[in-house]
């Protein structure tokens, strides 16, 4: 299976508060991936192959193997289509065993949710659509500063 690497230096990226924030300097577009997707991005950065990423995600999240493989492969395809990753040489990924071992810490595994790549190109698309927020009788959301 094809290996990938981050398309540096054209792409700058960082994981902030569990969200991978990516900017393609050539196009000016920027992107974010939450949750599982941010973990996938972290593994890509470590040099894991797609197969190793699927294996590591399956060790970390609860879900059907086929569902996890399909979700990861779909994300990789989207990342490649956006030129955020490009095919690269296979490398020995020292982070692989650490990643898998790190997941086996005895706590219940969170449920796998297919990662979604959010793209922002202009004002309308600046919206990373959020989970639905409840509103009270005033019609306005009322969020807790500590949970926002």
């Amino acid at each position: 299976m094809t290996h990938y690497r981050v398309n540096s230096p054209n792409v700058i990226h960082e994981i902030i508060d569990g969200e991978a924030v990516l900017v393609n300097l050539e196009s000016g577009s920027y992107y974010s991936i939450d949750s599982v997707g941010a973990v996938v991005w972290d593994y890509l950065e470590q040099g894991l192959s797609p197969g190793q990423i699927v294996e590591a995600i399956a060790a970390q999240f609860a879900g059907e193997s086929a569902t996890i493989a399909a979700g990861v492969e779909q994300l990789l395809a989207e990342l490649q289509a956006e030129q955020l990753i490009v095919p690269g040489d296979a490398i020995t990924a020292n982070g692989h065993s650490a990643a898998v071992n790190g997941a086996a810490n005895g706590t219940a595994k969170p449920l796998f949710e297919a990662p979604v790549l959010h793209k922002y190109t202009d004002m309308e698309d600046l919206l990373l659509l959020d989970p639905i927020h409840d509103v009270d009788e005033s019609g306005w959301p009322n969020t807790n500063p500590n949970n926002a």
């Binding site: 900017v23 309308e124 600046l126 919206l127 409840d134 509103v135 009788e137 019609g139």
Partner: protein, 370 residues
Amino acid sequence: MLNSIKPTASVEPIQHPDPVGFLADTYEFFQHVSQKVGGALNQFYNVHGHLIQLSFAGPALTRITPALAHWAVEKPAGRPALTIHLWDDASTGTKMPPPPWLGYGVRASNGGLQGVYGKRGEVRGFNTDRIRTIFQWGSNVLSIVDIQHGQAIFWTRDAAQLPQWEIGSPLRNILHLWLHEQGLQYVHAGAVGTPAGGVLLVGKGGSGKSTTALTCLNSDLVYVSDDYCLVSPDPAPMALNLYNTGKVRADNIHRVPHLAPVISNVDKLDQDKALFFLHRFMPGKLATGFPLKAILIPRVTGRVDTTLTPAPAMTGLSALTLSTVHQLPGAGPAALQLIKRLTDQLPCYYLELGTDLAQIPRVIKAMVID
């Protein structure tokens, strides 16, 4: 009773969002609130030559102004470039009408219906080149800015419930969106130096920006910010002050003991960062701005000495762009271009922070003078 906006078949996508009409209706409601409380209380601020008027319906929200107090001016003869209308429901005994998007979803690119609120609070359908509408999660603040006409709305349910970060760096969304149109980019960065030149401190929260900047207050360096400031790339890179505040985690106060006597919120350190208003206690340390000589990325090393290590130029661009984009609604490609023009002109270094804090300002000063 909760009235959730659910992406179900019973929720319709909003068809004809009218951000201009929403702003007009909201302004009309402000006028109603203002009359109810006996008229607006107006304050004026001259921020880098831009006259800004804050028009309060009731005094409750004036609690956000100390961070901007160093820009305050008497009522000027000229017309403000930006007027912000501020009120809350709780202190005025009023009730903001529900938003026009209540009960509607939006059609997502995959065809499904989703909520109208964005991750960073953007309200879908109510953001155009002219009008920006943000609902800030956590502080529950509605901000609307009419970029073209210099009018803005700042509303929240209860001024007393605003989190500390709205006091330390108030009006973030409105100022960020409006000042960008004036060529000033609001960024997540600290800045310290001498009047002749200084450095930008970049990196995500917890990387050491605040500790570095506040440590420099105990030296002969001047201070522009520890967290949020303005930058301008033209004609030469500049860092410009916006707020007169500094803040540090309570468990880091021992690193800046010179600031312990001037903590403004001693009674809340169990839940908030320590907040300082430098304008009150160290006005001579506060600089309006300085030319930038370099970008520094603080890194905690655990070693004794503080040193500088050259860093790839991309590292500074990356750190500054990503932490800014992550936090500020509407920070898009235009902001990226402005930041890139700035970072392209500056060398970048890792500031390898040592445990002997007195070395930090000396290393920065030597680099700036050099």
